[in-house]
């Protein structure tokens, strides 16, 4: 059915809620089993878990008599990454479930708890969800048998119970979620991303309806400006101001572009939004099109995200079928078409002018600004470019008002920020926190601290453009300006935690290797400057550093920052400068003492077997790839230093701790 009016939208919303085919959050009719299927979940076997759930549920329901169960969406093509048969609904005939109409097995995107994938949540009428973590197909069968058939949850497998008294913790009270505020991620893990009705039932497309029926383009722009929303891709430019520039240029043709070329290594928030809630992006881009006067949009997605791509394609098709994209949206005079362009693996295409070149089918090389894309962008026409997370905030701002949004956050950074929390941290996941939350809250409360009793050393934000935040700055309140002041930056939201085993010189070298490889080569400071910096860092980590190397690195860094054309070059030295600022002693140890304090730089390591601890078990000799270890029964083994390639396999294998490195 095509949606022509606001009433049509309300109709779909209430229908979707009544049928129960809606988000488990407000579902009062059915027992909903929700198998979360983001990339991480699927890679951990969520598809197999889903199949086992459906099979066991069918088996259970068919036990007494033939029920009228049916599967929906069978006509979906099960292409690459596509959910295919995306839900299963069966009627429960068992008398013990009289209060229920049925069992509803559905699939959503990722709720962010990557560390517990694959996740299954089971929600009954008016219940808090029971969340099962690290579910296997065998566990899935047991869960159906115990939790659904016998109505006895398996408490040991739940991730949201108090361990002793078996009470259920509400999702928002779990340590992982307690300090979060989810706006951009509100629907991730809640709605079925392949069902537009689910999104509509969660107030989706109501912001677009409001925009088209009650607001002039300038009203939209003012609302976004007043909200204080700034670009979430890293730069932090005020979104409303960007839209206003494009609005004010008069042109027959304008474009709205979404940067979903999430190239920052260690960031996956855009992927999660595309996989978990693609309609939110579509709605926001249509609103942006209306605000600046564009009728064509492009989403530039990286090819490394096949599932995100499939779900976005599917969602665009659904929005077109419903008339929420295309001509005369919601019966108005506004028309808007959305197309996808595939990124082909070039980090520099995250830079807006390079991205535009790439959409035009050319090499993704940046060009100097001005003119800014808002004046002269895609094929020379006014174009706005925002990132996925920025757009994901827009519908909520339109629906709840600028004042609601600007009440969240700090003075100059409003709203929330999504971070991909990864690296040496217990609770790896995707989190959304109000601006102004301290790094300590993220690491200790949400992240659950550092694994294996190791010590926190640094958190890296801003990816290859950012910096490392040391221990004594854990209480910093995270916002755009505070991070910049300490030599890092917000970036797109990668937050990689490092412990005492991470060498900060090696990390700086890792990022330089990245930016040097990804430099497009157009301007000399970036092309050659990063190469010379990398060579110097290689030298230092190999134990061949010279006394003047630090000064050389600093001088080069400042030249590259000042003279490069685009953001990639201008920020490429940041990882080196920030580690030099906070971990200069590590550089000095590498250069002067030829030691790596974290024992990470292999060239400087030597492995030895401790005679008094060695039990002559020969495990180390068997695992050594170069046969560098030899020994006899009842005699301590020895390492031949000439043959040793310092891979560390022996040390990892030794059960008695008889091998040490220095």
């Amino acid at each position: 059915m095509r949606v022509n009016t606001l009433e049509d939208l309300h109709h779909i919303k209430s229908q979707s809620q009544e049928s129960g085919g809606h988000s488990p959050r407000d579902n009062h009719h059915k027992l909903t089993v929700n198998v979360h299927q983001g990339t991480c979940g699927i890679a951990n076997g969520a598809k197999e878990v889903y199949a086992a759930m459906v099979e066991s549920a069918q088996h259970y329901l068919n036990k007494d008599k033939q029920p009228e169960n049916h599967s929906r969406d069978k006509d979906h093509q099960n292409e690459n990454g596509h959910m295919g048969e995306s839900e299963y609904i069966g009627e429960i005939k068992n008398s013990s479930h009289n209060s229920l109409n049925g069992i509803h097995i559905t699939q959503t995107g990722c709720p962010g708890m990557c560390y517990n994938e694959p996740l299954v949540s089971i929600t009954g009428p008016a219940d808090q969800p029971y969340i099962y973590g690290q579910v296997t197909p065998e566990n899935a069968r047991a869960i159906i048998a115990s939790h659904i058939e016998n109505q006895t949850p398996i408490y040991e497998w739940l991730v949201n119970t108090a361990p002793i008294d078996k009470t259920l913790t509400a999702m928002q009270d779990m340590p992982f979620f307690k300090n979060q505020k989810r706006i951009a991620l509100a629907n991730c893990g809640v709605v079925n991303p392949e069902k537009i009705e689910d999104y509509i039932a969660a107030d989706g497309y109501f912001a677009l309806a409001r925009t088209l029926s009650e607001m002039q383009p300038l009203d939209v722009i003012n609302e976004i400006k007043t909200s204080g929303l700034r670009g979430r891709g890293g730069g932090g430019f005020p979104t409303g101001a960007k839209w206003e520039f494009a609005h004010n240029v008069s042109s027959d043709q304008k474009y709205v572009v979404c940067n979903a070329d999430e190239g920052d290594p260690g960031a996956f928030m855009d992927r999660s939004i595309l996989e978990g809630d693609p309609h939110r992006l579509i709605e926001a881009m249509a609103i942006a099109g209306y605000a600046i006067g564009a009728n064509q949009g492009y989403v530039y997605v990286r090819a490394e995200y096949p599932i995100a791509l499939e779900r976005l394609k599917w969602a665009i098709g659904q929005a077109q079928d419903k008339g929420l994209l295309g001509d005369h949206i919601l019966g108005s005079a506004f028309s808007f078409t959305l197309d996808i362009r595939l990124g082909a693996g070039a980090f520099v295409c995250g830079e807006e002018t390079a991205l535009l070149s790439s959409i035009e089918g050319k090499r993704g090389e940046p060009r100097p600004r001005p003119p800014f894309p808002a004046v002269s962008g895609l094929w020379g026409y006014p174009t706005i470019i925002n990132n996925v997370e920025t757009y994901a905030n827009v519908p909520a701002i339109i629906l709840n008002g600028a004042a609601w949004f600007s009440a969240i956050g700090t003075e100059k950074s409003k709203g929330t920020k999504v971070f991909a929390l990864a690296g040496k941290i217990n609770n790896i996941g995707l989190i959304e926190i109000p601006m102004g939350t301290t790094l300590r809250t993220i690491i200790e409360d949400i992240g659950g601290g550092i694994p294996h009793g190791k010590k926190y050393k640094a958190a890296q934000t801003g990816g290859p453009s950012g910096g490392c935040i040391p221990t004594d700055m854990l209480d910093i309140e995270i916002d755009y300006d505070n991070l910049q002041a300490i030599g890092s930056m917000m970036g797109s939201g990668g937050l990689i935690v490092m412990d005492e085993d991470t060498c900060m010189v090696d990390i700086a070298r890792f990022f330089l290797e990245f930016t040097q490889d990804e430099s497009c080569g157009k301007c000399t400071p970036c092309r050659i400057g990063t190469k010379r910096m990398l060579e110097t860092l290689d030298k230092i980590t190999e134990g061949k550093g010279d006394a003047g190397d630090i000064d050389k690195l600093e001088a080069l860094a400042h030249s590259i920052q000042n003279a490069s054309i685009c953001g990639l070059g201008q920020t490429a030295p940041n990882p080196v400068l920030s580690t030099l600022m906070y971990f200069r002693n590590e550089y000095e140890a590498h250069i002067h003492e030829k030691k790596c304090p974290a024992h990470a730089c292999q060239e400087m390591l030597s492995y030895t077997i401790l005679d008094d601890k060695c039990t002559s078990c020969s495990l180390c000799a068997r695992v050594c790839p170069t046969d560098a270890i030899s020994g006899k029964t009842k005699e301590p083994y020895k390492i031949d230093q000439d043959k040793c390639i310092k891979c560390g396999a022996c040390m990892a294998k030794c059960k008695v701790g008889a091998i040490e490195h220095s």
Binding site: T39, C40, I42, A43, N44, C114, Y115, E117, E262, G263, D264, P265, G266, A267, F268, R271, A303, E304, Y305, P306, R341, L342, A344, G345, A346, F347, S358, I359, E360, G361, K362, R363, G364, W379, A420, A422, G423, K424, I428, G429, Q460, G463, G494, I496, M498, T502, I507, F510, F511, C520, V623, P625, C647, G648, A649, A652
Partner: protein
């Protein structure tokens, strides 16, 4: 280059496939990257004669097409192995030891990252972030994801493809 002066020898099966791809995409502005991507999916890589054929078909100079194929990491101008191993070298994987895993593959396969084994069986790539940091260190073999690995898992992974 005058058309006709440069003899383009191309497998007729390839030219038929390319013609279909071009017909489906050429009308869209800026579709070169999509055409190259679909052509590579069909043929496996983008050798010089394929680029030259596309140049004639699309009326885009070969230099420009070559410029695009060599700019983006997605495109290969050399044939790739039967199986492609892509080890994620994003930051989260790197701090959790992805470098050791690449080194172990290099040792086992006796090639460097970016190369293909002599028997054409495996291509080893160190790739950019796969966005699956929860599984770090992670890799894909022919698109199938394997996560939370150590260098000790490398031998087993390879044995599955023997």
């Amino acid at each position: 280059m005058n058309p006709g002066q440069y003899e383009i020898a191309i497998d007729p099966q390839w030219s038929t496939a390319i013609d279909t791809i071009v017909a489906a995409n050429a009308a869209q502005p800026g579709s070169l990257i999509q055409i190259l991507e679909q052509t590579q999916k069909e043929i496996g890589y983008l050798p010089e004669n394929v680029q030259a054929y596309l140049s004639e078909k699309l009326d885009i100079p070969l230099s420009e097409i070559y410029g695009v194929t060599t700019f983006y990491a997605l495109f290969n101008t050399e044939p790739v192995g039967q199986h492609t191993i892509s080890v994620c070298m994003g930051t989260a994987c790197y701090v959790k030891g992805a470098g050791d895993i690449v080194a172990e593959f290099e040792r086992q396969l006796d090639i460097k990252a970016g190369e293909t084994t002599q028997d054409g069986k495996f291509t080893l790539e160190a790739c950019r972030c796969l966005g699956a940091c929860g599984l770090a260190p992670v890799l894909t073999i022919d698109g199938h994801v394997h996560g939370r690995l150590t260098s000790a898992d490398v031998r087993n992974l390879l044995e599955n493809y023997e």
